[in-house]
């Protein structure tokens, strides 16, 4: 009995220590965000004189926001990011789910070759492709500076990873008998896919959507090469451009950084469980 009590006490103490360590690490993890959050409500002078104070000498102010929003053209930039992320994610899901279906269910040479090429291409870093991309689509075809070009490029870059994930899902989770039953009932392959297979792929659709939407929303290098026109900037590009121009106006910078982070943080608040699950599923399979 005494032994048990001692063990229980020890276990309890270990748990308390674990929680304390976690809380300290957690605070260290969020400190950069907290610093932005407290400084965004201060005047430029107050930030410079004491960036650590909770409230500046001149008190609480909201003036940084409207100015930063106007200078960054925030709503337009937000709209661009949303359009690009949304369209590219949907297209990636549709195209790669379709491709993986024909690849899994047929052992034709074209399927094997295409799939092998996609798997092999996943190790190629973007740096190897950026110069030729710019010279082919900027130099030869002259179609840079358009949202549609960026959307298609995003899809092209992410389609191999997504196909790989759908391939795994169809291979192990969709029973062949279902498709045979559909065939007997008179479905074509096209109908079978959309009516039977695709609805069953929902969990993988969610995973791919989360991973790709986050990647598209946050991507900097590809959009910076494609979006040459200020009108169609996305959030990361606009943040970079804003910082380049107003880096000394630190109050505005704080507001711009917070604005750039806010949409995805708000989304995370609601979809936190799905995002963590989706990213884990994607990482472990990839």
């Amino acid at each position: 009995m005494n032994q048990n009590e001692l063990a229980a006490k020890q276990k309890k103490r270990r748990q308390v220590i674990t929680i304390i360590v976690l809380i300290i690490v957690f605070i260290l993890f969020v400190i950069p965000f907290l610093l932005v959050l407290i400084n965004v409500f201060k005047t430029k002078g107050d930030i410079t004189s004491n960036p650590l104070a909770l409230i500046g000498e001149h008190g609480f102010t909201l003036q940084n926001f409207p100015e930063a929003m106007a200078k960054m053209d925030f709503w337009n930039v937000f709209k661009n990011s949303a359009i690009i992320t949304f369209s590219a994610t949907i297209l990636t899901i549709l195209f790669s789910a379709m491709a993986s279906f024909v690849i899994v269910r047929n052992n034709w040479k074209a399927c094997t070759l295409f799939f092998a090429l996609m798997i092999a291409s996943m190790v190629i870093p973007f740096q190897v492709l950026m110069v030729p991309l710019v010279s082919v689509y900027g130099g030869i075809f002259g179609i840079l500076g358009s949202r549609i070009t960026l959307i298609f490029m995003h899809v092209g870059f992410s389609v191999s990873m997504a196909t790989f994930m759908f391939h795994g899902a169809i291979h192990s989770n969709i029973p062949l008998e279902l498709e045979e039953a559909a065939l007997i009932d008179g479905c074509s392959r096209w109908q079978t896919f959309w009516k039977i297979v695709f609805p069953l792929l929902k969990p993988t659709v969610a995973t791919v959507a989360i991973i790709d939407a986050m990647a598209f929303w946050n991507d900097y290098l590809l959009p910076s090469l494609v979006l040459t026109d200020k009108e169609i900037y996305t959030i990361p590009i606009a943040t970079q451009a804003f910082y380049g121009t107003y880096s000394t106006d630190i109050g505005l910078v704080m507001a711009a950084l917070l604005l750039a982070m806010l949409p995805i943080l708000i989304l995370y608040l609601f979809l936190q469980k799905h995002i963590v699950a989706g990213v884990t599923a994607g990482a472990v399979k990839g």
Binding site: Q15, F29, P125, G139, L221, T239, M261, K273
Partner: protein, 292 residues
């Protein structure tokens, strides 16, 4: 309906895989091949003709001292970042799977840096290093303390610190999945056989999590080797071009100095170095894999 004809097969294939195939070729295959061709030309990015120069670009890439300096920095940076990312991620994963209350909250919290793009993170940290840390430092000493970002070693330290902070939460999720994949009965069996908890960890849990280690180390190597956005926003290569990593050097070579041929050749070299290290790591890691 004839299902074995060539026309049926190609129609089916194109109907389902066509869109993916076209985009994949347009964005990856064609640029990759065209990039190989570009390495044999001296193109300035503007003129219509691309004069053929043979292996001159590879020769100048091998002679480019700045490139190799940036490569050396990248290897130094990646080595430290990969070790610390994985150490921190593993420790965090251990703590958040120990069955305490609120572990899901902590998991979600440590993941937050991954939600935000490297550009924004870099600027946030730039503020932290340049303003907040300087203010803390100045409070404890008499004069003003210079920012860590203004010294050569300091800038590299900052890059590593931010990368560890950025990636640890992501890798933690993979290690968490690894921890949960090791069944409790195995650990209990080891304990009954007389293992202490730390022995059970070392001899049972960690060997069974080898796949997680291989995955995480591979992911962190391949990410660190081509990191660009944090490098751009946090240090921008300053001070005195001492923190230019290889990816940034390649970008500058091509798009700022307009030396597309050499830039592309250097990008290929970077890719090969990264691929060799990554694949060697996976090969060595997979060799000693054990199963329960």
């Amino acid at each position: 309906m004839e299902r074995n004809t060539m026309s049926y097969k190609s129609k089916q294939f194109l109907m389902f895989a066509g869109p993916a195939l076209i985009l994949f070729c347009m964005v990856i295959i064609i640029p990759f091949l065209y990039g190989l061709y570009l390495t044999f030309t001296s193109w300035d990015g503007v003129s219509a003709e691309k004069p053929f120069v043979g292996f001159a670009n590879y020769v100048s890439a091998f002679k480019d001292a700045y490139f190799w300096a940036s490569m050396g920095r990248t290897i130094f940076y990646s080595a430290f970042a990969v070790i610390f990312v994985n150490a921190v991620a593993f420790a965090l994963a251990y703590l958040v799977t120990s069955g305490i209350k609120g572990q899901n909250f902590f998991r979600a919290g440590f993941f937050i840096p991954n939600l935000i793009g490297g550009i924004v993170l870099g600027y946030v940290w730039k503020f932290v290093f340049n303003r907040a840390f300087v203010a803390i430092g100045s409070a404890f000493t008499d004069g003003t303390v210079p920012s860590l970002l203004s010294s050569t070693g300091g800038a590299m330290f900052c890059l590593i610190l931010v990368s560890v902070w950025q990636y640890a939460g992501y890798m933690m999720l993979i290690y968490v999945a690894g921890f949960m994949g090791v069944s409790d009965s195995l650990k209990e069996a080891a304990m009954i056989d007389g293992c202490t908890p730390s022995q059970a960890m070392r001899n049972v849990t960690i060997p069974l999590m080898r796949t997680s280690f291989v995955t995480c180390i591979f992911l962190s190597i391949t990410r660190c080797f081509v990191v660009y956005d944090v490098n751009l926003s946090l240090t921008n290569g300053e001070p005195f071009m001492s923190s230019i990593l290889a990816a940034m050097h390649v970008y500058n070579k091509a798009f700022i100095y307009k030396d597309f041929g050499t830039g592309q050749a250097e990008a290929l070299i970077l890719f090969l170095v990264c691929a060799i290290i990554g694949i060697a790591q996976v090969y060595i890691g997979k060799k000693g894999e054990v199963e329960a």
